[in-house]
Amino acid sequence: MIAVIDYGCGNLHSVSKAFDAIGEDVVVTSEPDDLRSADRIVIPGVGNFGAVMAKFNSSGLADCVIEEVRGAGKPTLGICVGMQLMAERGLEGGETPGLGWAGGVVDRLPVLGHDLRLPHVGWNEVFPVGDSKLFKGLGKTPEFYFVHSYAVEYEDNEGPVAAWCDYGEQFVAAIQFDNVVATQFHPEKSQSLGLRFLMNWVDWNP
């Protein structure tokens, strides 16, 4: 059973329908017991980092999530702001501490001087790093759907980066560490390649 966490933020309907479509049992839940009995966990997230982090912290689920993801080590997928929450801190909507699981700072995409628009909306190529099972069979530079103005940044690019994307400059498209994978893009909105990415995640045993 895959548990998609409902803490008040996120396109839960789309995420759960995508797992339905690939034949997986999924529950959208804000019940700690569901998280405890789940095999895998999805942390969605849409909106402003500060606001989303506040909702997460006041959901009553934070401790349970930390226990199940970092304690029990259940395979976990973070999507969009769900990935950003894992950083050290975020600068959108004021400076807010993140969960601190993956380091890095969430800051505005550096598009100044590149004559590029924000939000970064649309399909863009993703460059997987190394031999990650998550990107297996998706082609060398699969295109996924992005919609965001902020991204996780690492000093000297030192961080658990699993894939890069290019918008003016390189930015982090996906991270992978321990039992966690997280994507800045929306696999549940990326048609067949996105569904195949989700299937890869379901088959992944960290």
Binding site: N11, H13, S14, K17, A18, D20, A21, V46, G47, N48, A51, L116, R117, L118, P119, H120, V121, G122, W123, N124, E125, E143, Y145, F146, V147, H148, S149, D166, Y167, H186, E188, K189, S190, Q191, S192, G194, L195
Partner: protein, 253 residues
């Protein structure tokens, strides 16, 4: 790099797709969920649903269509038509929309844009602007599906909307809509060169060259099109291929 987007647009009335010319003379063109699945299979980048009836009874049908589409299509869906309040936006997002388009209500009460952006994020809020020429040939914002002309410059209104938190601007020429004679490239370029958010051009696509021109010359980030897909034998596959050959960076599914 980021690809230029092709967005088939479907006008909905009472659970059916319809299409007209200049916001009038509508004909039934099929079932929206079926059409959405075909577009997805043909590699459309996003879908745009606009509810033209926008009545209270129509609302339940619209939500049903959105929910069914979100269950079967895994691509970004923008929904608009008669959206008046933050609650309306929330209901559509919960039903499965990724972005909500607001038009007349945003013009009447611009704070709606900021409220929507604050609650859901600016990437969920598309401000839709229809424009029409007045008797002197000057472009003006038009409300209520093009029926009511104002004295406001659409480019100025677009800038205000972007400042208030619109993540994207959807820009439609009332005169060119459905006529398949090409987009209003001059006005699109004026707005695209003014705002720093993505601009989606709508209204007028008649040939695949029109799709190229509005991006290359009009500086649109995305092109929405309806009649060209309903009434000619063009498809998103052909459109992407043509756009790529013309040198645009598009997704080849």
């Amino acid at each position: 790099m980021l690809k230029t987007r092709l967005i088939p647009s479907l006008l909905l009335a009472n659970g059916r797709c319809v299409k007209g010319v200049r916001f009038d003379d509508y004909r039934d063109v099929g079932h929206p969920v079926t059409a959405a699945k075909v577009y997805e299979a043909q590699g459309a980048d996003e879908l745009l649903f606009l509810d033209i009836r926008a009545s209270d009874e129509g609302r339940a049908t619209l939500l049903d269509t959105v929910t069914q589409t979100a269950e079967q299509c895994f691509m970004p869906l923008t929904v608009g038509g008669g959206v008046r309040t933050v609650d309306d936006i929330r209901t559509l997002l919960r039903a499965g929309a990724d972005k909500v388009s607001i038009n007349t209500a945003a013009f009447a009460r611009p704070e709606l844009i900021a409220e929507g952006a604050a609650e859901f994020g600016d990437q969920c809020i598309v401000v839709s602007i229809d424009h029409i020429a007045d008797s002197t040939g000057t472009q003006r914002v038009a409300l209520d599906s093009g029926k009511r002309m104002t004295d406001v410059d659409p480019v100025e209104w677009a800038q205000r909307a972007a400042d208030l938190g619109a993540g994207e601007i959807l820009f439609t020429s009332v005169e060119r809509e459905g006529a398949r004679g090409g987009y209003d490239i001059d006005t699109i370029r004026r707005v695209a060169d003014t705002v720093s958010v993505p601009v989606i051009a709508a209204g007028g696509a008649g040939s695949l060259q029109d799709l190229v021109d509005v991006v290359a010359q009009g500086h649109a980030s995305a092109v929405a099109a309806a009649s060209i897909f309903h009434f000619t034998d063009q498809s998103p596959i052909k459109a992407h291929s043509f756009m790529k050959q013309a040198g645009l960076d598009v997704r080849m599914a």
